[in-house]
Symmetry: none
Subunit: 213 residues, 4 copies
DNA sequence: CGCTAATCGAGACGGTACGTCGGGTCTTAGG
DNA sequence: CCTAAGACCCGACGTACCGTCTCGATTAGCG
């Protein structure tokens, strides 16, 4: 399957014929999330999603090329909820976003879908790219935003080398996201305020120590 | 499927009837890894595994309750390869194990299977427990071993409170494993010597900073 | 199996969705007869029939509930070939239909299938009814037709009591069909012109004798 | 399968090793009849028969080559029950044996097994021979016995030509057995005293009429 | 207002894999 | 040599989804 009808139709207005139903899209995505919660990834069925959405299977396949694409889209928007409210200090900001992220991963549709699509993507470069652009990379904004805010506050020095800065941001992103995901989904231990505090201390301590070396 | 014959038979010796073939077990696990590499998780078929192993499908179902259980067992032993060779310093040890772990995750059977079974486990407590006991928890030994060695060397102080020590070990484990997995499988960036070095600096810096606070 | 979709749909027109393929039905029934000849009843496989018919197994199961039902339908129409050509006398007509019937039972698909479905039907009232309505009862027409023709010729008197007439017709039917089947399939002796002649003499002699008593 | 261990061991006394259990044979045959009644032919399982008989599958396969052979043996002896008690006249004798035969066919194990093994035999000459020798031909004695008795009584003339006599006996056998089986198993109508009387009248009338021609 | 064309629902289609079951064989330990 | 037990290979079962396809029936915008 190669995305036979790429997706709605961004700019090609399809000026003739019956237009696609907007409600169908919303109903399908909602039904997908609902089914994910109830059934998990592997037992989720496109036919079942169609039934839940009150839609024909054909309608579903006209818009998405398969399970992977559908679930990625259904889950992606959930990740846009993450924000970085200004809590006054870098440490507080980090703890805040860690807890927010953990709360997101605690929701069944998210925890199920995230790992599943990542797993599915290991042999599919196109899917991997879609995940990164739709989900992962969009969250790096949080790191950059947090660093910018900390620099404004004077908690962190302005970086000299932009390349080093980018690499450090990537490192932080992998450490934060990886640790929270691992704690939450693999170790299956709670990401509570206490853990967030200890983790934040470790991270910021490491950053300042690394900066002085 | 309800795990009709949970697994071989550890202590119930099944003293009657033809004994189960030891070679079949080995052939099945090897075939599973081979098929994982070639096909990936979702296209892996138990019938195909049986064929590759030169074994009847029923033989396979006698021993494992399904795809998940089989793959967990097939992959678990790969993780036992990880070791902690003494490289003379804590930093060198950490970098070594990070690179080793990354190399393991770079192998197709591992990268494919690990995320998939974790994903599958989000709605299945029994599977989650099996993964933890067969794969995850066994690697915590590396953290404990590394810390012990560092304490012998005098790089780290002997911990005062055993509970705090355990929590710190868990934290470190989640940070290391999570960061490497995230870097490798989600961000899809290489875990090379340079990244390992930067990560180790961050981790150890954070540890000593946290210890002084 | 509980006849999930009893059969095509005689009067319910199923006005929505893609209509069922007529060609598929014909191909399946033909493939069934072919497979019966080659393999016999017990080695006939629905999967194999589907393959021969160039049809998916599901298509087959959509229409028939199992092997029995399929074979009954596949064989039933063969029995409609039987006719009662006017040979000028009752005796000649009877001999003719006996030989025709024997020829039909000599064909491998018929001889194999008939006994098998009858055997299967001993514990299945629904199947028994299906066989009677699809195969057996339809041949009683031959008895009635032959009697009518003989009465027109004056060979037999018009019956007085319709109930007695019906019972006699049933008796004749059982005697003719039973004797031919038994001779052909159980005793495994040829039903040739000579046997047909002797049998006809016995039957007609008995009828006239019984009529006079 | 070609009867790997022909059958018990008629004259070869197997003078060494543990002797075969006599009780096992009886238990297996009884269990076979029991299972036939409950399950019918096609759902009868050799494993199930073994379990019912309290015997290992191996034991069963050592004695019989398969389902067909086993069932033939299990059913054959039931047919030896048929007798021809002297009722004083040929007509009464015939009616008696017809009713006896119908009663036998009314028993579930008989009705099920008879047709099934006959059906199975259509493509297997060896099985056909086994059935004929074990079941069918043994019943011809009834015809011969009845004729002999009728000749003693003077109801029938002594036959002149032995070949004609044999052919007539075969014809009668096919007509009687066929009609009763067809009435009972195919038409599914009761073989009661009334039907037996009408049938006997037809048969004997036909015989005397044919004899005069 | 009618045409054109893409949409919608429904459901049948050819496939592939599932997990189970029965057949018949083989391999144990024990009688 | 037999027996009970049970694992073995094999092949068919009937089911579930897959992704595609054909239907008749809606909707739009354009002429």
């Amino acid at each position: 399957m190669v995305t036979p009808m790429p997706h709605p139709t961004p700019d090609r207005p399809a000026r003739t014929g019956r237009p696609r139903s907007q409600e169908a899209d919303a109903a399908i995505l909602a039904a997908t999330r609902e089914a994910l919660v109830e059934l998990g990834w592997s037992k989720l069925t496109l036919g079942d999603v169609a039934t839940r959405a009150g839609v024909a299977k054909t309608t579903l396949y006209r818009r998405w090329a398969g399970k992977n694409e559908l679930v990625v889209d259904a889950v992606a928007e959930l990740f846009d909820e993450l924000e970085l409210p200004d809590r006054g200090s870098l440490a507080a900001d980090v703890e805040g976003v860690v807890l927010q992220f953990a709360a997101l991963l605690g929701r069944p549709e998210t925890r199920t879908a995230l790992m599943a699509v990542v797993a599915e993507s290991t042999g599919d470069e196109a899917l991997r790219a879609r995940i990164r652009s739709s989900i992962v990379d969009r969250q790096k904004r949080l790191v950059l935003e947090g660093r910018g805010r900390a620099q404004e506050r004077g908690e962190l020095p302005a970086e000299e080398d932009p390349e080093t800065a980018a690499r450090t941001a990537d490192l932080i992103f992998d450490v934060v996201a990886g640790a929270v995901v691992h704690r939450s989904l693999v170790s299956c231990e709670p990401v509570d305020a206490e853990w967030a505090h200890r983790f934040t201390a470790l991270l910021l301590g490491g950053l300042t120590a690394a900066a002085h070396s």
